[in-house]
Symmetry: C2
Amino acid sequence: MDQYLKIAIEEAKKGLSEGGIPIGSVIVYKDEILGKGHNRRVQNESVILHGEMDAFENAGRQPASVYKECVLYTTLSPCPMCTGTILLYGIPKVVIGENSTFLGSESHLKENGVEVVVLNNRECIEMMQNFISAKPELWNEDIGN
Amino acid sequence: MDQYLKIAIEEAKKGLSEGGIPIGSVIVYKDEILGKGHNRRVQNESVILHGEMDAFENAGRQPASVYKECVLYTTLSPCPMCTGTILLYGIPKVVIGENSTFLGSESHLKENGVEVVVLNNRECIEMMQNFISAKPELWNEDIGN
């Protein structure tokens, strides 16, 4: 498996072990991890700390020249908020663990020139299927439903 | 002036007095302020706490039924990240102080059925013009340039 997706999955599992939503993300710059994170809706009572947003925050303030050479890994297809953040900072490539339990704004990413790779990783799919079955209300809250 | 835009401007000024970027936002539900906030890039070393994001965070975890009856006020046209967050939570109406110093993703909001009102308020314009002249690097960083 891709080493960075593996780290994103570890982040997702950390979130689950904290009682949270199991979605993790890693931002990689020239084969170095700039930031990683996981969804913190439950843990921080946050409506903006999706996994990708937490990774951006943990990556810190970076110049545009750095963002433009990054790859963002996420265990799940990015929602409109995370998509907008990817576009704001000009991240050129996004690697997605799976998009079968939730299809985010991938078409909007592609329309704006972002390379999108979907791995449809079995571990990511099972993790989200199990979570959505166990806590559907929490999941719906997280995607604004 | 619209009373809520006035409060968004007060938030922006608070940000400026803290050494930050002067953009403020208010989320209103049935004529009641649910949350307000301002850009915290400098204050919190945050790359995700734009004014609108800070207002969402301060509004707390709300059910979809509440978001769907909210109006978001912001002193400046919303960037792709804040636009995505507005779409994620299904905010139906956005009132924008001005879009002459920066034009955000208003077309994307409209394409997705959001009502967009642009006031082109003179105080908002002058506040951003002065800030951009004084700290162009910080401003460019905030919009991913």
